[in-house]
């Protein structure tokens, strides 16, 4: 397709339910990309599978809709072959923390410069409402008729423990704030993850917009909080219940994965010698 103007819009028909948190996520994402003044052709949006990942169809940038649970390795491969691209991975709580749970640990510890956006609606929505790894305990659904007996995963605690250098919690109810968080995450030099609390109007009757409205508070309003302090971050990230902090919870600097690969200091992989390689010395040894 032709490169669109920098509004990232396209005419594909959106299939989310009215009131879905994804509408807020897509608006915030487009707005962040505009703020950053990125060109559509320099961005790759990699998608998982699920309601969250339908987003790749509705943003006019380079896209790759991959497999359930596998968006993180996909994004890393794309990035390593051409690290000039801005690579954003989008998935849901099921794909990223159940099916593909292993990948986030390693992407985070690599500090590879990609951004992971989690549309965390605490339910499997595309398959019509099963409990997910972030569903609250006692969540009643098809496979859990008497409520889940597992404790939920805290996605950001997992990411933080794995060495992520940027973790943030967003909320679909605050589109402006979400956009600012996305812009910071995408421009962060290293691995960044944004867990977006995003209501599913069809299948999650617990964690609704109203539920979060009365609980979330913005971390930026807390002048005493130092997001570079890992100890404070571990404490803050675990807060849940009546008071849920949103905003950037931790930001640190460290060498990115790409910067530690000598070959990539000469340029992107795709831009390097694409002609016939002389392999004589390999044969002779």
């Amino acid at each position: 397709m032709t490169e669109p103007e920098n509004n990232f819009d396209n005419k594909n028909q959106i299939t989310w339910c009215p009131g879905c948190g994804n509408f807020s996520i897509i608006a915030a994402l487009k707005n962040a990309l505009k703020t950053l003044n990125y060109k559509p052709h320099d961005i790759v949006l990699a998608g998982d599978i699920g309601c969250s990942s339908k987003l790749t169809d509705y943003v006019e940038v380079n896209t790759f809709t991959g497999l359930h649970g596998r968006v993180i390795p996909l994004a890393q491969g794309i990035k390593l072959a051409n690290h000039k691209l801005h690579v954003i991975a989008i998935g849901g709580d099921g794909g990223l923390f159940a099916e593909g749970g292993n990948h986030i640990l390693h992407a985070a510890r690599r500090n590879i410069n990609i951004t992971v956006i989690v549309n965390d609606n605490q339910v499997y929505a595309l398959t019509k409402g099963q409990a997910s790894p972030t569903s609250e305990k006692k969540f009643i659904s098809g496979p859990t008729p008497e409520g889940t007996i597992e404790n939920p995963i805290n996605p950001l605690l997992v990411a933080l423990a794995s060495g992520a250098t940027f973790i943030a919690r967003g909320w679909a109810g605050d589109n402006t704030g979400l956009s600012e968080i996305f812009a910071q995450a995408i421009s962060h030099d290293g691995f960044s993850i944004v867990d977006v609390l995003s209501p599913c109007v069809s299948f999650n009757k617990i964690n609704t917009l109203e539920y979060y409205k009365s609980r979330v508070y913005k971390l930026v309003d807390d002048a005493t909080y130092d997001k570079s302090d890992l100890t404070q971050a571990f404490e803050k990230v675990r807060l849940w219940g009546d008071h849920i902090p949103i905003g950037v919870i931790h930001e640190a600097s460290g060498p990115t994965y790409e910067k530690q690969i000598p070959v990539l200091q000469k340029g992107t992989l795709v831009s390097q010698n694409n002609g016939l390689i002389d392999t004589e010395k390999l044969l002779d040894r």
């Binding site: 596998r70 996909l74 051409n82």
Partner: protein, 585 residues
């Protein structure tokens, strides 16, 4: 006088340098103008298990093992116990007399050498194997200066001290046995050196082919027998501008590889059967999204963990059909390191040209055995990246319906347009669609790539005379073993030929069916239980091969086993053969 044909075997505990000793002997043979073939057996442990390497040294080209041992070099007692029955009249045992006591055996030269003492005197117990190799060359009345040069080149990178120590150790071992075994009459000659000959194993050959083709990215999770591909490529990263990664699992390996390929880098992953199980979802993704992908599947014993370090050809069915749904793929089964280089080079061209997954099927035996080959002339090989572009415009659509089923691939990052890849069924622009008309056109687009591809692939090669008493069918690593069997059969006046199946999918059904028209008797040789290629041939040609030589004990075939089978088939009266055929049908 019979030409040179010597087998030296060396065994000891894992960690004693058994593989290195085998390499050293092979290098000595190469430097003496001789051919050598080395295969090794090792258990899935790092220290303490029994490691064993056999080096078959010959004057004329041979690339297989044989049913004998001329010199058994025993660094421990277990080696003698496990292998003494393979010795025959005239063989010799060289053993470490510091730690092993051996009784005299009639007809066998028992040559004790104080390997431990000599090694310690020369620089350390660790070089017991070098003393032993010196002793073996001494017993064979070889040339020490060739061994010295071999040691120098082997330890070049480790510095003068290591070279000196090894040369001292080898010389002491050499002098100890030189002329000692008067009852041992084998001797190793040296001939004119052919500088075009090299030693190479299948894994290194794959790496060379990949690098030659412009490989840029590899993500490989360690697994026997392909791990050395990971190590080799990683070591060459800075020399050839590669990025080589050891990811968290095989799923990540294949998906990262697909991602890198989407960005435009020639990309590779490698695994064995167990890892390939995890990769199957990625295989389907590459098929659906039309991403060029090259996967090496080095087979080993299965199912499940089975015998992890033993060879087998039991994943043919698996790689042919792995994945759900229908998508085109290419499967190549190279038979030796020469074919590994070329097949890998071609795999990258084919993957790019047809935008689909290509699987290179090898096995533990081919992956890790050392062959003597002629340096391939790659000067005429051309890189073909297919329909790839970095300039988009308003009319660009990723999955445009083209006559040949292959659409232009715009690399992300190209100004002027964006590109889409999709695991869902999609329209020409790459948008999700379950419209029946679009589905039909897109399925047909992908599947018809196979038709053009089939026309391009080379015909299978028939080795030997067309007019033979028996045609042997085989694939992959059995090639060199069967070719050596043909030579043995020829010596006995039996005319046999060999049909080698390298391009397995798409299958050259017409050409293979034609071969059957000229076949008087047929035999198929496979390293598996059920005859997977036999079934595949029957399903695509309607021809049934009833004579099967199958082996699934984790060990490679020996040419002698094939000779025996051929003779038993040819000695079976035709009436009986027909009866067997009827029974099998």
């Amino acid at each position: 006088m019979e030409s040179q044909n010597i087998v030296v075997a060396i065994g000891g505990v894992a960690g004693a340098g058994i593989m290195e000793s085998g390499h050293l002997l092979a290098k000595y043979a190469l430097a003496s103008g001789l051919f050598s073939f080395m295969a090794s057996e090792y258990p899935s442990l790092i220290r303490g298990g029994h490691n064993f390497a056999m080096v078959h040294i010959t004057e004329n080209e041979t690339n297989s093992l044989t049913q004998k041992i001329d010199i058994l070099v025993a660094l421990n007692e277990q080696t003698v116990k496990l292998h003494e029955r393979e010795l025959k009249e005239g063989s010799a045992i060289i053993y470490d007399s510091d730690i092993i006591e051996l009784e005299k055996v009639d007809g066998i030269t028992i040559q004790g050498v104080p390997l431990t003492t000599i090694a310690k005197e020369s620089g350390g117990e660790i070089i017991r194997n070098t003393v032993a190799i010196g002793a073996a060359i001494g017993l064979l009345k070889g040339n020490f200066s060739i061994l010295e040069e071999t040691l120098k080149s082997t330890f070049e990178k480790k510095g003068q001290e290591v070279i000196d120590m090894n040369v001292r150790a080898a010389l002491k071992g050499y002098r100890f046995t030189q002329g000692a075994g008067s009852s041992f009459d084998l001797s190793i000659k040296h001939k004119q050196i052919d500088s075009q000959r090299i030693l190479l194993n299948g894994n290194d050959a794959i790496c060379i082919g990949a690098i030659r083709s412009g490989l840029k990215f590899a993500a490989i999770y360690p697994m026997t027998p392909v791990t050395s591909i990971l190590d080799y490529l990683a070591a060459e990263q800075n020399n050839f501008n590669l990025v080589v990664k050891e990811p968290e699992d095989e799923i990540s390996a294949i998906i990262m590889t697909i991602g890198a390929s989407y960005s435009g880098a020639r990309s590779l992953t490698a695994t064995s059967g167990g890892g390939f199980c995890l990769m199957t979802e990625g295989l389907g993704l590459a098929g659906m999204a039309e991403i060029p992908l090259v996967v090496v599947e080095g087979m080993r014993s299965g199912p499940s963990s089975a015998m992890p370090t033993k060879t087998e050809q039991s994943d043919l069915d698996f790689v042919l059909y792995a994945g759900h749904g229908e998508f085109p793929r290419i499967v190549l089964a190279p038979g030796d390191p020469t074919e590994c280089i070329e097949a890998t080079f071609n795999a990258f061209n084919l993957a790019d040209k047809y935008q689909l997954p290509v699987i290179i099927l090898t096995d533990k035996y081919l992956a890790s055995s050392l062959y003597t080959i002629n340096k391939p002339d790659m000067s005429e090989w051309k890189i073909d990246r297919g329909k790839i572009t970095t300039s988009g415009n308003e009319t660009y659509s990723r999955y445009e319906l083209e006559e040949d089923g292959v659409s232009s691939r715009l690399l992300p990052g190209s100004p002027g347009a964006v590109t889409h890849a999709d695991s869902y069924e999609h329209d020409a622009l790459g948008r999700d669609s379950d419209d029946p008309t679009i589905r039909i056109s897109m399925m047909e687009k992908r599947m018809k790539k196979i038709n053009n591809l089939a026309k391009e692939l080379p015909e299978p090669i028939l080795y030997g005379e067309k007019d033979a008493e028996i045609t042997i069918f085989g694939w992959g690593s059995n090639k060199s073993i069967i070719l050596d069997a043909l030579k043995l059969l020829d010596k006995e006046g039996i005319k046999a030929n060999y049909l080698h199946l390298l391009y397995v999918m798409p299958f050259p059904a017409y050409e293979v069916a034609k071969i059957f028209d000229h076949t008087k008797a047929a035999l198929i040789v496979e390293n598996n239980y059920s005859g997977q290629m036999t079934r595949y041939i029957r399903s695509l040609t309607g021809r049934r091969i009833t004579n099967k030589l199958l082996k699934f004990d984790g060990r490679p075939f020996l040419p002698e086993e094939i000779v025996k089978k051929v003779k038993s088939i040819l000695n079976t009266p035709l009436k009986a053969q027909a009866d067997i055929k009827e029974k099998n049908d």
